[in-house]
C-alpha cells in the first residue's frame, strides 16, 4: 500500500510541476491545487498508513483500541487543507483581477512593471528558450 500512495504522490507532483511551468497562469493555479493535494497526501502517508481504523475512543473507554490510525498527521493535514483552500481562493481572485487589468492570462505578457527592453515584436508570444531547445 505504501508503494501505491507514494506513486500517487509522485504522479500528483509531476503533474503539478509541469502545470506550474506553463505560461498560462490558470494552469499555474491548477498546478497549485494539485501540489497542495500532493503535499497533504505526503504528510498523511509519512505518518504511517493504517487501514480502516479511525482514531476514535469508544463509549466508556479511556483510550482508543490498539492499532488505530495515527491522529497527529490527520490533524495537521486538516489544517493544511483549509489553508490550501485559502491560498487557492486568493490566487484565483488575483488571477481574475490580473486578467481584468492586463487583459491576458499569459505570464510572459504580464510585463507592466518590467517591460522587455528590446523586444522586436512585443505582441507575439515568444517561444521559451526551453521550448526552442526541445524542437
Amino acid at each position: 500500500m505504501e508503494v501505491f500512495v507514494a506513486i500517487m504522490v509522485g504522479a500528483l507532483v509531476t503533474a503539478s510541476v509541469y502545470l506550474m511551468l506553463a505560461r498560462s497562469v490558470l494552469r499555474f493555479l491548477f498546478g497549485l491545487v494539485l501540489l497542495s493535494n500532493a503535499a497533504n497526501l505526503l504528510i498523511f502517508a509519512a505518518g504511517g498508513l493504517t487501514p480502516e481504523a479511525p482514531p476514535l475512543v469508544a463509549e466508556g473507554a479511556y483510550a482508543p483500541p490498539e492499532g488505530v490510525a495515527n491522529a497527529l498527521p490527520q490533524a495537521l493535514v486538516l489544517t493544511a487543507i483549509v489553508i490550501g483552500f485559502g491560498l487557492f481562493a486568493f490566487a484565483l481572485v488575483l488571477i481574475y483581477r490580473g486578467y481584468q487589468n492586463l487583459g491576458t492570462l499569459d505570464s510572459e505578457q504580464m510585463r507592466l512593471a518590467e517591460p522587455p527592453e528590446s523586444d522586436p515584436q512585443p505582441s507575439t508570444p515568444q517561444m521559451s528558450p526551453m521550448a526552442e531547445l526541445s524542437k
Partner: protein, 746 residues
C-alpha cells in the same frame, strides 16, 4: 578650485574654528605623552567591544603610533586652518569639515588600534571618507570618476586585508597586535597572509601596479591632497607594513617583495613626475616615490634601514604637506598650476616663495635641511642592504636625483625669472593659508639644524617597527663617507636633469600611460559582465524563475538522496485490493488529464476527480474527518473555478499545443524523487510518542472521543486559531481585490 575668501566669519565660522581646535587639542594631548614614549614606555588602554569575538577597542601608544598621531593631528591643524581660508566661503564648507573630521578620526583610530579588527574598521573609515573628500567637487564627472577609482582600488585591497587579518587571527590565536608575540614566518599560513596583507598595504599606499589612483585623486581640493595624499592616508599602508614588521617581516618573501615593489614604484614614479606639467601632479608622483622608498626600506628591515625609513617618514610629511599647501596658495593667487606658464612669482608672493624654497630644499636633500639627514641615512642603510645592495642603492640614487629635478620644477622655476602673465594677477595668500606651510617648512630647517629633537620620535618609532631597541643618533655632518659622496653625485645629476627637464618631458610625453585606460576597460568589462548576468538571470519571465527554482530543488534532492545512499524497500504488499488499484488509476489519470488538456472544463472536472480520489484515500486509511473536509473544499474549489471561468478566457491553444519536453523532464524527475523519498520515509520507524500522548489524554484531560478533533480544538487550538486567521486574511484580500475591480471598471 575654490576661489572665494568670503568666509562666514573669522576662520570660516563655527565649523572653521571648531575644526581647527579639535586637532590642535589632540595634538597637545599626544605631545604631552612624548617624553614618556621617548623614554621607551608603551602606553595602552583597553575596553572590550565585542568580547565574544575577541574584539576590543584598544589604544596602543608606542613610538610608531605616536609619530603618526602627531603627524595626523599636527598637519591636520595646519590643513584645517588653511581650509578656513581656502574653502571658507564655499557653500559646502561644513560638509567638507565633517568629511575631514571623519577622516581624521579614521586615521587616528587606524594608527592607535591595538586590535586588528578595530584597525580594519578604521581602515575602511579612511577609505570611505577619502572617497567623499576626493569627490568633493561632485558636480565634475572627472572628480566623481577618480573618487570612485580610489574607492574601488583601496576598497578591494581592504577586502584582501580583511581576509589576511582573519588568517592572522587563525595563525596567531589573537587579533591583538601587541599580543602577537612570535613571528608567523614558520606558520603554514604565512604565504597567504603575506599576500593578502601586502595587497591591502600596496593598494592603500599606491605601489605599482596600483599606483594610478593616487595622481587621479588630485581631483580633490588642495588641502585634501596635502593631508590625505602626502601625510596621512597613503601612509596607512606604510604604517601597516611597519606595524606588522615584527610578526611578518624578516623573511625572504617579505624582503624581496617589498624591496622590488618599493624600488620599482620609487623610480617609476619619479620618472613620471618629470613628465607632468601641472605642479600638483608633479607632487603627486613624488609622493608615490616617497611611498615606494618607504616600502623598500621597511622591506630591507635592518635597524639602519628602519631608522632611515622612520626619519624619511617625518622628512617627507613636513616638506610634502608644506609644498602641497604652497601650491594651493599659488593656484589661488595666480589661477594656474601650469609649470610651463608660472615664472617669477618670488616678488609678488615672497612668503610663499620662502615656504617653497625651504620645503623644496628639504625635498632635494640639500644640507642643512632635515631632508639631507633623511637622504644620508637612506644611503647609509642602502649600502648595507644585503643581499640587494646594488638594487636598493640604484633605486635610491635614481629616485633622489629625479627628486632634485622635481624640486626645481616645483619650487625654483615658478618663483624665479621675470613675472609671467597669469589668469589672475599674482598676489600673496592670506594669513591662515600661510601659517601652516611656514611652520612645516621651518620644521624642516629646524630639525635639520638640531636633529636631536627628531631623535625623540625616531628612536621609539624605530624600536616599535624593529621590535627591539634601535640605536638612533641623527647628525648633520658625518664626515666624508660613501653616503656623502653619493649625495654630491646626486646633486650633480639632479642639476643636469633639471636643466634638461623640458626636453626630457617632451620625450616622456611620447609614452602613453596604459594603466588608466586599462582601468576604464576593466570597469567596462565588469559592467558588461553584470549586464550579461542580469539578462541571463533576471529575464523577467515568471516561467524561467519557476524553472530555476524547481531545477535547484531537483538537484538538491538528487544530491541528498545520492549522498545518503537511500534504498527503500519496494514491496507491494499482499493486501492489494481492487479499490486500491482504482483509486490509483483515478488520481493518476485525473492528474495527467489536468496537465495535458486544452479544455478548461475538462481541467476543472479532472481536478475534481483528483480531489475526490484523495478523499477516498483518506477514508481508506482511517481519516473520515479529513476526507469530509477534503470533499467540502473540493466542491467549493470547483464551484469557484467554474464561476471564475465565466469571466476568464479559454486556455490559449496556440502556445500549449507543443509538449514542453524539458519541463516534463524536470517534472518527472521531481515527482520520481518525491516518491523515492516518501518510500524511504515510510520505511523508517515512526516515533509515536506524541500520538500516544494524545491518545492517552484525549478522554481524561479534554473529554473528547474523536482524537483528531480534540487535537484541533484543544491541544493545538492556537494552531487552529492561526489557520482561521489565515483564511480570514485571504478572504479580506480577495474582497479588496474584487472591490478594486468594480471601481476600476466604473
Amino acid at each position: 578650485m575654490a576661489k572665494t575668501d568670503t568666509s562666514g566669519g573669522p576662520l570660516g565660522g563655527p565649523a572653521g574654528w571648531i575644526s581647527v581646535l579639535i586637532p590642535l587639542i589632540l595634538f597637545g594631548w599626544f605631545a604631552q605623552h612624548l617624553p614618556a614614549v621617548a623614554a621607551g614606555e608603551v602606553l595602552a588602554w583597553q575596553w572590550d567591544w565585542v568580547p565574544g569575538l575577541g574584539v576590543s577597542i584598544g589604544i596602543l601608544l608606542d613610538g610608531l603610533s605616536l609619530s603618526f598621531a602627531l603627524l595626523i593631528t599636527g598637519i591636520g591643524t595646519a590643513v584645517t586652518l588653511y581650509s578656513t581660508s581656502y574653502l571658507g566661503g564655499s557653500p559646502h564648507y561644513t560638509r567638507f569639515v565633517c568629511y575631514l573630521m571623519a577622516f581624521m578620526t579614521g586615521m587616528l583610530g587606524l594608527v592607535l588600534s591595538d586590535n586588528l579588527l578595530t584597525l580594519f574598521v578604521f581602515w575602511e573609515v579612511t577609505t570611505i571618507s577619502s572617497y567623499l573628500l576626493i569627490g568633493y567637487n561632485a558636480d565634475e564627472a572627472k572628480s566623481r570618476r577618480n573618487a570612485l577609482q580610489a574607492l574601488l582600488v583601496t576598497g578591494t585591497g581592504g577586502l584582501a586585508f580583511l581576509a589576511g587579518i582573519i588568517l592572522i587571527g587563525a595563525a596567531a590565536g589573537t587579533f591583538q597586535i601587541s599580543a602577537i608575540e612570535a613571528t608567523l614566518a614558520d606558520h603554514p599560513l604565512y604565504v597567504p597572509i603575506l599576500i593578502l596583507v601586502l595587497a591591502g598595504a600596496f593598494t592603500k599606499s599606491a605601489q605599482v601596479p596600483f599606483h594610478f589612483w593616487l595622481p587621479n585623486a588630485m581631483a580633490a581640493p588642495t588641502p585634501v591632497s596635502a593631508y590625505l595624499h602626502s601625510a596621512t592616508m597613503v601612509k596607512g599602508g606604510v604604517y601597516l607594513l611597519a606595524r606588522m614588521n615584527p610578526s611578518l617581516g624578516g623573511t625572504d618573501p617579505w624582503f624581496w617583495t617589498l624591496v622590488s615593489f618599493g624600488g620599482v614604484t620609487a623610480v617609476f614614479a619619479s620618472i613620471l613626475a618629470i613628465k607632468q606639467t601641472d605642479i600638483k601632479q608633479v607632487l603627486a608622483y613624488t609622493t608615490l616615490m616617497a611611498l615606494g622608498t618607504l616600502v623598500m626600506f621597511i622591506g630591507v628591515g635592518t635597524p639602519e634601514a628602519i631608522k632611515a625609513a622612520m626619519t624619511f617618514l617625518l622628512v617627507h610629511s613636513f616638506y610634502k604637506a608644506a609644498l602641497f599647501l604652497m601650491i594651493g596658495v599659488v593656484d589661488h593667487g595666480t589661477g594656474t598650476r601650469d609649470a610651463t606658464v608660472l615664472r617669477g612669482l618670488a616678488r609678488a608672493m615672497p612668503l610663499t616663495a620662502l615656504v617653497a624654497a625651504l620645503a623644496a630644499l628639504s625635498m632635494a636633500g640639500v644640507p642643512p635641511l632635515f631632508g639631507f639627514i633623511g637622504k644620508e641615512f637612506m644611503y647609509k642603510a642602502a649600502l648595507e642592504a644585503d643581499p640587494a645592495m646594488v638594487w636598493v642603492v640604484s633605486c635610491t640614487f635614481a629616485a633622489s636625483a629625479l627628486m632634485f629635478a622635481a624640486a626645481g620644477i616645483v619650487a625654483w622655476r615658478p618663483f624665479t625669472g621675470r613675472l609671467a602673465d597669469t589668469p589672475v594677477r599674482a598676489h600673496e595668500g592670506t594669513a591662515p593659508m600661510l601659517i601652516g606651510p611656514l611652520l612645516l617648512a621651518a620644521l624642516g630647517l629646524g630639525l635639520g639644524l638640531f636633529p636631536d629633537y627628531a631623535e625623540a620620535l625616531v628612536r621609539p618609532a624605530a624600536a616599535a617597527v624593529a621590535g627591539t631597541e634601535v640605536k638612533v643618533d641623527l647628525y648633520l655632518w658625518g664626515g666624508v663617507n660613501t653616503a656623502l659622496i653619493l649625495s654630491l653625485v646626486t646633486f650633480a645629476i639632479g642639476w643636469v636633469l633639471y636643466l634638461i627637464h623640458g626636453r626630457l618631458r617632451g620625450w616622456l610625453l611620447t609614452w602613453k600611460s596604459r594603466f588608466d585606460p586599462g582601468w576604464d576597460r576593466l570597469l567596462g568589462w565588469v559592467a558588461a559582465g553584470a549586464r550579461w548576468q542580469t539578462e541571463v538571470i533576471q529575464t523577467g519571465q515568471l516561467r524561467r524563475y519557476i524553472f530555476v527554482t524547481f531545477a535547484t530543488l531537483a538537484i538538491v534532492m538528487a544530491w541528498t538522496v545520492w549522498r545518503a545512499e537511500l534504498t527503500p524497500s519496494m514491496t507491494l504488499g499482499d493486501d492489494i485490493r481492487i479499490k486500491h488499484w482504482s483509486v490509483l488509476l483515478f488520481i493518476t489519470a485525473g492528474a495527467a488529464l489536468v496537465a495535458f488538456t486544452n479544455s478548461r472544463m475538462t481541467a476543472v472536472a479532472s481536478l475534481g476527480v483528483v480531489g475526490v480520489g484523495v478523499a477516498l484515500v483518506f477514508i481508506m486509511f482511517g481519516a473520515p474527518d479529513v476526507a469530509i473536509t477534503q470533499l467540502l473544499v473540493e466542491v467549493l474549489q470547483v464551484v469557484l473555478v467554474a464561476v471564475a471561468m465565466l469571466k476568464l478566457p479559454h486556455l490559449n491553444h496556440e502556445y500549449v499545443k507543443t509538449l514542453r519536453i524539458w519541463d516534463l523532464l524536470l517534472a518527472v524527475v521531481i515527482g520520481g524523487l518525491t516518491t523515492f523519498v516518501l518510500l524511504t520515509v515510510m520505511d523508517t520507524p515512526f516515533d509515536l510518542r506524541l500520538t500516544e500522548f494524545f491518545e492517552e489524554n484525549s478522554v481524561p484531560v479534554a473529554y473528547g472521543r474523536n482524537i483528531v478533533n480534540v487535537i484541533l480544538v484543544d491541544f493545538r487550538a492556537m494552531d487552529t486559531f492561526g489557520e482561521i486567521a489565515v483564511v480570514v486574511i485571504a478572504a479580506l484580500g480577495a474582497f479588496a481585490l474584487l472591490r478594486g475591480t468594480k471601481r476600476g471598471t466604473q
